[in-house]
């Protein structure tokens, strides 16, 4: 391990309502692999975005190769030798491997692109990295793993000195991961600095030299990997903060009927043989890390995405759900994690959004009864304490919390019995969060059944009667709230099988 290549000191960053980075410091040495760990929302990505110039820091200093720097954009960072290899790859599928690697700086020969030279150079590069890929192959014919290796090769060819791997193994097979590790070890030999972001404990133990753990926007400490155990890391990740009033026991009495039963649901790579039951009046928490397949499961059940196989039973009866319409008429609802993209017609008013799920109820023949529509919407606006000058207000002008209430109101007006809340409190302030928690409890007491997908452990522990944990498209465990702890959930959430 050599000298320090990057030092980030006292980095501070605040977004409206969120203190995303609270005086975080971190350093990376040449020839080491530093793991960066933490729960979703701990601030890992924000920190990397500050480093590469996507976000501007509020305060703090970044020293890179002995100079204090502040990149204006990722391009500048790249020029300086800092490259991020993303989980989602930025490759152009119909170009060849070599064309992708040299994109933007193609070698020219008399004004025309010299493909032959490009292929030769790419070949040399691959030989150096001991990667076996044909440079003339079309990118979209390669596996994700191979594509990722091309991305690494591209970074090397741009004289990268510091490479950041953002959950690189998420989409790889075991064999590909081994290959990736061989390359990473090689890069370490060549005295590059490497930051490795991952949730997978076994990989961290295997490949990294040090682990820096973040929680709630703070750096909670750095450990030497070979001297610590998996539990040490988990404990640092979850901390010992006491969260507001976690549920101590399930509010669902034994023998309560099952309202929704999913059996052997399969949909793509992210939903593999998922089966579970939801009881009347229950809040069923779905926990897991980002990309565990929880949203995909919800969408598959709701008919938003195609399902390969699996049956859905509502109140004991098998129902056919292939499109959202069928799900809605079966009494299901789905509040998306991304309300702007999937939940709201932003240019339309509160009323127009609110009645979208059940417009026929407000129609006589084809005509909308606008008076009734307004009255009913007003009732829900009052009930949800939605702050707005009037129900004709355009949704785009509302705050995040109030927008979320419009989405909730829309499903309540639709009178759905089974509510799937996907990250119901994402991006909204603390006050509105509390109101949404209260509302969910009230709905459950009234006999509505709720599936709550959440990436916040505190939220899961506070709201759920029962918890299902997913990892990589599979259910890895089920916990009753009485026995659930953060450590148990984290263990299940990182359990690969």
């Amino acid at each position: 391990m050599g000298e320090i290549i990057l030092t980030m000191k006292d980095i501070d960053k605040t977004f409206p309502g969120v203190h995303a980075l609270d005086h975080v410091s971190l350093d990376v040495k040449k020839g080491e692999v530093l793991a960066l760990m933490g729960e979703n929302g701990a601030g890992k990505s924000t920190l990397m975005k500050v480093l590469t110039g996507i976000y501007k820091k509020d305060s703090g200093t970044i020293t890179y190769e002995g100079r204090e720097i502040e990149f204006k954009n990722p391009h500048e960072a790249q020029e300086a030798g800092i490259v991020i290899v993303h989980q989602e790859l930025n490759m152009i599928g119909h170009l060849t491997v070599a064309q992708n690697i040299f994109i933007g700086r193609e070698p020219l020969n008399g004004g025309l692109i010299d493909d032959a030279k490009m292929n030769r150079d790419a070949k040399k590069l691959f030989e150096k990295l001991k990667i076996e890929i044909d440079p003339t192959e079309k990118m979209n014919l390669l596996t994700i793993g191979k594509q990722q290796m091309c991305e690494i090769a591209k970074a090397i060819s741009r004289n990268a000195k510091l490479i950041i791997f953002d959950e690189p193994s998420a989409a790889l097979t075991d064999a590909e991961i081994e290959q990736l590790f061989t390359i990473i070890r090689d890069l370490r030999e060549q005295q590059l600095g490497i930051i490795y972001i991952s949730h997978r404990m076994d990989e961290i133990k295997k490949i990294t030299d040090r682990v820096t753990v973040m929680r709630d926007g703070c750096n909670v400490g750095t450990l030497i990997t070979k001297d610590c155990t998996k539990d040490d890391i988990i404990n640092m990740m979850i901390g010992h903060v006491i969260y507001a009033a976690p549920k101590t026991e399930s509010h669902v009495k034994p023998g309560t009927p099952v309202v929704l039963k999913a059996e052997h649901i399969n949909a793509g790579r992210m939903v593999r043989d998922v089966s579970f039951e939801l009881h009347k009046g229950e809040i069923l928490g779905f926990s897991g890390l980002m990309g565990a397949g929880r949203t995909e499961t919800a969408r598959a059940i709701f008919g938003a995405d195609a399902r390969e196989s699996g049956d859905i039973y509502i109140n004991g009866e098998k129902v056919k759900i292939t499109r959202p319409e069928e799900a809605v008429s079966a009494g299901l609802s789905y509040l998306s994690e991304d309300r702007k993209q999937f939940g709201l017609a932003l240019k339309k008013s509160i009323v127009e959004n609110s009645t979208l799920t059940c417009l026929p109820k407000f129609c006589r023949r084809q005509f909308i009864d606008k008076k009734k529509e307004k009255e009913v919407t007003q009732k829900y606006v009052d009930m949800l304490q939605l702050k707005t000058p009037g129900v004709d207000q355009l949704v785009i002008n509302l705050s995040g919390g109030n927008q979320q209430k419009v989405v909730i109101g829309k499903w309540l007006i639709g009178d759905a019995d089974i509510l799937i809340f996907d990250e119901p409190t994402r991006g909204i302030d603390v006050g509105a969060k509390e109101e949404i928690y209260e509302l969910m409890n009230r709905l459950a007491d009234e006999g509505k059944s709720i599936i709550m997908i959440s990436s916040e452990l505190a939220e899961i522990l506070r709201m759920s009667d029962r918890i299902i944990v997913m990892c990589e498209g599979k259910i890895t465990g089920e916990l009753d709230i009485a026995e659930a702890t953060q450590a148990k959930i984290m263990n299940l959430a990182t359990m690969r099988n």
């Binding site: 959202p324 240019k347 127009e352 417009l359 005509f367």
Partner: protein, 329 residues
């Protein structure tokens, strides 16, 4: 200024529309002054001029009303001009060559228009084609079918006074501008459909966020397609008013009206991005476009100037729309 914006009637019809109405009067004034100067003492202030401008406004109005529905869903249909001509050619050919009864021919015109709408709508909504691709295809198909059906002959509908010419009364009965009355009735119906019915609500919401509407359990495909069918049906209506005013239709033409109709629509406050539409705005926009082409001809310029101007109007109107949305977000 702020006070004016808050006046009740201004709020009711929208500040934008009030400005446009002023533009109509200003344009009229401009043409009234410039025509005698530029065109050797010819006069613009004549009843015949107004009727002539109105002739253009009728069919253009129906085209623009139709395309308002499509644009409000976030799509576009610029095959409406050729579709209108195909409708007029096919129905006219049935009338003159096969001696089908006039009422049937008018219905045929509506059916042809609707079928093109169905074609566009099906491929956009159910086959996920971009609407501009379906428009391109429909333009060719409409022009081709019109030519094939009539063996590349132009079709002349019965002239005023001859047998089977009562359809002319739909445009103008003596000095009664029946066309205007019918256009207003059509606009009122369109306004009701767009603003007061389930269909209109769904279309506008689809234009704002199709995925959100789909996830709310709405059959978005069906409603999106219906918008195109309405557009096609109104292009079929436009065909009747076109022949009512101009009698003769030639195969292989019609594209130049697309731009005028879309310009009228966007100028009136319908957003090309979808989700926001104004029927009243479309009608006012139609009036402006019609007055403009009449004025240009009256001043002694060729109609080609009109194409330049309507092209520029589309650019300005869409830029203004994009800018105003940027400011809001």
């Amino acid at each position: 200024m702020k006070k004016f914006k808050n006046l009740k009637f201004v709020r009711a019809i929208g500040f934008n529309r009030v400005v446009l109405i002023c533009v109509i009067f200003l344009l009229y004034l401009l043409f009234a002054v410039l025509t005698p100067v530029l065109h050797g003492g010819a006069s613009f202030v004549k009843v015949e001029r107004i009727f002539s401008a109105m002739n253009y406004a009728y069919f253009l109005g129906f085209l623009a009303l139709g395309v308002t529905f499509v644009i409000s869903t976030g799509g576009i249909d610029f095959s409406i001009g050729p579709v209108m001509f195909a409708s007029a050619l096919i129905s006219g050919y049935c009338l003159t060559q096969y001696h089908a009864p006039l009422w049937l021919c008018l219905i045929i015109s509506l059916i042809v228009g609707s079928l093109f709408g169905l074609l566009n709508g099906y491929f956009v909504a159910y086959r996920f084609l971009p609407s501009f691709v379906t428009s391109l295809a429909s333009i060719e198909i409409a022009k081709g079918i019109g030519s094939v059906f009539t063996k590349t002959q132009s079709v002349t509908w019965p002239t005023a006074g001859s047998e089977n010419s009562w359809y002319k009364n739909l445009v103008r009965a003596g000095n009664v501008p029946t066309g205007l009355i019918l256009l207003i009735i059509a606009a009122v119906i369109c306004g009701i459909v767009l603003n007061k019915t389930k269909a209109g609500r769904y279309m506008l919401c689809i234009g704002s966020n199709k995925e959100a509407v789909r996830l709310s359990g709405v059959n978005t495909k069906k409603w999106e397609m219906i918008a195109y069918v309405i557009c096609g049906l109104l292009a079929g209506c436009a065909a009747i008013f076109y022949v009512g005013a101009y009698t003769t239709v030639q195969p292989g033409l019609g594209d130049n009206f697309n731009n005028d109709a879309i310009a009228a629509c966007v100028m009136g406050g319908t957003s090309m991005a979808g989700g926001v539409a104004s029927i009243l705005g479309t009608v006012i926009g139609t009036m402006i476009m019609s007055l403009m082409q009449e004025g240009i001809l009256a001043m002694g310029f060729t109609i080609s100037y009109q194409y330049v101007i309507s092209g520029i109007i589309v650019l300005i109107a869409v830029t203004a729309d994009t800018l105003s949305r940027k400011r809001k977000v």
